[in-house]
Symmetry: C2
Subunit: 81 residues, 2 copies
């Protein structure tokens, strides 16, 4: 069975996010002054062939841990749809 998996990788809450700060500056220059606390991460969509949902999640966990997210700086979240 093929599962569609989404992995969201975001910078840890406690860390500075310079890219987010830059985007917030840009938005304020555009006149959007009601925007705050911008944080930018990655979104990864992938297809996983697995016997069941649990196996698909296990593969996604392995992908996130080994390649997609840096646990020192990032947290990841896996969603199967």
């Amino acid at each position: 069975m093929i599962f569609t998996v989404q992995i969201k990788v975001m910078p840890l809450k406690d860390l500075l996010d310079p890219q987010g700060k830059a985007v917030m500056g840009g938005l304020q220059n555009l006149g959007l002054n009601n925007v705050s606390d911008v944080r930018i991460g990655k979104h990864i969509d992938l297809q996983i062939e697995a016997e069941n949902r649990e196996a698909a999640i296990a593969t996604a966990e392995e992908a996130a841990k080994k390649l997609l997210a840096n646990p020192v700086m990032e947290v990841y979240e896996i969603t199967v749809s």
Copy 2:
């Protein structure tokens, strides 16, 4: 009222996604051969101060159109939580 808004920006389905292809190669080198169709985009979390949900979505749309997404190459999706 402050709304927490998430904007997902992904490369258009019809376009090549070289970053996704590279990650798929990396995952297969790690032995995860059951993974396919990897696509990588951005995930932006932000706080928007607005009178109501509709106004918050309108601000997020404006941010996405003017700064966050390039409509020639990307699609965006807004979620308010």
